[in-house]
């Protein structure tokens, strides 16, 4: 496992191009495009203000930079550095911006969700979509979803206090279907990867998930329980075969694609008794007392005593009880329930995080429908992401380590570099060969060996200082 040098970064804006050739990162108002392998600067663009959001077009030819504060979107071309495009939303404001799958249209959501403006880069035409529903969760728009083939757009709408879903054809922005959903307050919609089924779920006050066919037929509804906080997270398996629904009761329910009934229910118990389940517990590694090391750079560790200490995984013997967080019952958005879900690319594994046990990542075996492993970290898990090529999960907790799990085992790798590198976020390269690690104002690339990568990675693990 090799690490690149550290580059500057702001607002955690760092993205690989969809074709995997380039890496775009932002430093204040500058957009830097690097070669993903050599990390040499390929292009450098300057925007008018601090960049708040970037997105690659699907064909990797353009990059969109959104400057929400100014209500501006600037688009840059990779092929023609002199080409530029600036879209001003004016006084309507701007809260979200994204590409259409063809890479020639930009969808801007104005402030207060007044409308969505569709700007075309091919013609001067501008289209408006009215009544978009304001269901945005953090950065991700839960109200707009494109099918994977880029043909259709599903859009959540709200008119006359009722929820609707519009399905539009992306090629000419023509309305294909428009139907109301039987929800109190639609919280999100998501296409199945095969683009034939649309999942729509209600806000957290009610547990309800609805499944619609592409032609607007209601295929099924699922309600696990009533009178309690409902759905918190939803994820489709890459094979479109399963729909995992995480809810506030701390359970993940897996629905199948034939009957749309529940196959199984994964609870997140705080004590693990089954000896078949491997519990990897992160443990602080006591710094090796090598005299030579003590000598020169006098304790930099003093600056960040916790984050700079190395860690390793230990296989804990069952029964293990995990650290739980007592949720504040009198506050909104309590820290309970399954907040994050992700299927591995081969649909064989499911990684989850229960917000009441923020230090643990649970990995479930979908083939056997049982808990396979639990990773208990020292600090709360910030984010995790599967390798797009294989069953390998990268986890970061805001410390200076990056953690990798694969069915073969688990490893904690110290990110080398001057000072602390607190990994707040990470993203995989398309090929799964490298991994971008993002800290508050720096980023670096972590190159994993191909093929026997995991093995060698484990061999070299944590040898860096």
């Amino acid at each position: 496992m090799n690490f690149s040098e550290v580059f500057k970064l702001s607002s955690l804006l760092c993205k690989f191009s969809p074709d995997g050739k380039y890496l775009a990162s932002c430093v204040q108002y500058r957009l830097v495009v690097r070669d993903a392998n050599t990390l040499q600067i390929h292009q450098l663009y300057s925007c008018l203000d601090q960049i708040q959001h970037i997105e690659w077009s699907a064909d990797s030819l353009f990059i969109l930079c959104a400057l929400y504060k100014r209500g501006l979107v600037q688009v840059w071309s990779l092929e023609q550095p002199e080409w530029h495009c600036k879209i001003d939303e004016g006084s309507a404001g701007l809260v979200a911006s994204c590409w259409s799958p063809d890479g020639r249209h930009i969808l801007n959501t104005t402030e207060f969700h007044l409308r969505i403006t569709v700007w075309s880069l091919c013609t001067k035409s501008v289209s408006y979509i009215k009544y978009p529903k304001a269901c945005q969760q953090g950065e991700s728009l839960r109200g707009i979803t494109f099918t994977r083939d880029g043909r259709y757009l599903a859009l959540a709408e709200r008119r006359d206090c009722k929820d609707y879903v519009s399905i539009l054809v992306c090629s000419d922005w023509q309305l294909l279907r428009h139907f109301d959903t039987d929800t109190q307050d639609l919280a999100g919609i998501e296409w199945a990867p095969n683009g034939c089924v649309l999942a729509a779920w209600d806000a957290c006050l009610e547990y309800k998930i609805l499944l619609y066919s592409l032609d607007g037929r209601l295929l099924s509804t699922f309600c696990a329980y009533e009178w309690s906080l409902g759905i918190k997270s939803v994820a489709w398996s890459p094979s479109s075969q399963f729909l995992a629904v995480g809810s506030y009761d701390g359970k993940v329910r897996i629905l199948n694609h034939v009957t749309w009934k529940m196959i199984t229910e994964f609870g997140h118990p705080t004590t693990i008794n089954n000896p078949k389940i491997v519990v990897y517990k992160e443990a602080e590694k006591s710094p090796p007392l090598v005299l030579g090391r003590l000598a020169f750079p006098p304790p930099r560790a003093a600056a960040g005593p916790l984050s700079s200490t190395e860690s390793k995984y230990e296989v804990a013997s069952v029964p293990v009880s995990l650290q739980t967080l007592k949720p504040a019952a009198d506050r909104a958005n309590p820290r309970i329930g399954v907040g994050a879900l992700a299927f591995s690319p081969d649909s064989c594994f499911l990684a989850t995080r229960s917000d009441s046990v923020p230090t643990a990542v649970w990995i479930w075996d979908i083939q056997k429908l049982r808990l396979l492993a639990v990773l208990e970290q020292l600090s709360a898990v910030r984010c995790f992401q599967w390798d797009p090529r294989q069953a390998r999960l990268a986890i970061c907790t805001g410390g200076s380590q990056v953690y990798l799990w694969s069915p073969a085992g688990c490893v904690s790798v110290q990110v080398p570099g001057e000072g602390d590198f607190q990994v707040l976020s990470l993203c995989w390269h398309l090929s799964g060969d490298s991994l971008a690690l993002l800290s508050k104002d720096h980023f670096c690339l972590c190159f994993l060996e191909t093929e026997q990568g995991v093995g060698t990675a484990f061999g070299q693990r944590a040898d860096h200082t």
Partner: protein, 613 residues
Amino acid sequence: MGDWMTVTDPGLSSESKYISQYTSETKMSPSSLYSQQVLCSSIPLSKNVHSFFSAFCTEENIEQSISYLDQELTTFGFPSLYEESKGKETKRELNIVAVLNCMNELLVLQRKNLLAQENVETQNLKLGSDMDHLQNCYAKLKEQLETSRREMVGLQERDRQLQCKNRNLHQLLKNEKDEVQKLQSIIASRATQYNHDMKRKEREYNKLKERLHQLVMNKKDKKIAMEVLNYVGRADGKRGSWRTGKTEARNEDEMYKILLNDYEYRQKQILMENAELKKVLQQMKKEMISLLSPQKQKPRERADDSTGTVISDIEEDAGELSRESTWDLSCETVREQLTNSIRKQWRILKSHVEKLDNQVSKVHLEGFNEEDVISRQDHEQETEKLELEIQQCKEMIKTQQQLLQQLATACDDDTTSLLRDCYLLEEKERLKEEWSLFKEQKKNFEKERRSFTEAAIRLGLERKAFEEERASWLKQQFLNMTTFDHQNSENVKLFSAFSGSSDRDNPTVHSRPRQKKPHGAPSGSPVCTSKLTKSLPASPSTSDFCQTRSCVSEHSSISVLNTTPEESKPNQVGRECTNQKWSVASRPDSQEGCYSGCSSAHANSHVEKDDLP
């Protein structure tokens, strides 16, 4: 005084006597005051007899005393003390005999009375103690009664309290229920109110949004614009098309196409899955049939009705099987048939297994009853014997292996690889058989070799003769004819010579296939042959065999030499092929093991690594 006595005494004394008797019995009675007085009067009568008598009878009142006593005694029913008087005025005479009789009787009576009194007194004592006891009991019971009464009162009090509490709790519950009801209604009303408010707010919000929209959008906001250096082409290179009804229809078409594709894909998958499952079912059925059919004969002999019908069913099914296997399509009837037959067979299998179980348990029981020890001994002996045998076999194999390895240097690679392959003990039996066969064949070989050598010698002689002949003939020809003709004739001659020899070689040719057989045929697979060679009981014989081969090759004539490589080669090739096949077949197993080993090793190593400092 005497009058008083006479008048009062009879009734009183008797009464007092009774009373005294009674009172002596009931000493403790509270009404003993009177009897005490009576006692005073009666006790002197009984106990202080002498003193009383002394007072009673004096010199002067003898007559009176006697008459008094007479009276007394007569009243008690005793005979009179006086003799029967003859005259009324005459003084009656005292009858001494009567007196004595009376006295005796009185004494007897006295003794009896004393005895009775004693009895009575003891009884009195007993009864007194009984009385004491009963009184104690009574007192105790009274106490108990008192305590239980108190307890009862306490319990009643508690009960009352509890009931009171219960009533309170009921009341509370009711209140709570009411509260809940109220709260629920409040919640419901709040929810409706909230929803209503929300709706109102949302409407307001919508209105505001609308207004804002108008304000922001209709103002001809000059800022809302897009500056593009130049428009870029579409990703697909086409130009945008107009929106018409046609495009709408096309969109619909496409959508349905996508949906259809998806459904088709899913149907295909389901079909595949179904086919797989059906295959498994068929397989299961086949295996069941094959498993159940061997026991067909037995039940038939027994003429067991139920199994008989069942077996006929099996046969039917077996007949159907071939038919069914052709029906790969999903069809209701086929499915039903298949499932039904499988179910049926499953039942049969189950009953069969149960029967077997019963038999086994029966046998076990019998065995335990009769000859447990013996059988166990036998068993142990047998196992010992077998173990010994195994040991011997292993040793033998080891020595053979060594020998073969020594030989292997001489042999080609294929054979060595073959030889290395097999150490299975189970095949020993078979190999022995083959060994005997082999021996026979060896004999044949030797016979053939002899014939070969003979033939070769003969051929050599012939050849020599022929060569001489030819030389002479050539000489002649050379003198007579051209070179061209000479060649022709030579060819012809050669050919004829060859054909002649081949004629003689015919038996060898015939024998060759036979010779080939032991290599490939008898064992069926080269694996076995190699095993055969491996597990030959004695090493010299194998070397013998090799020697014979080499002898054949050395001593045999050219023609034989020509044939051997030709024939042995394909043989070898065949062996190679099968050998490869075999090794491939064996590989998954070994590989799996290897894999598992690897993975476990990997996991281990991983764990170890984790444990590293």
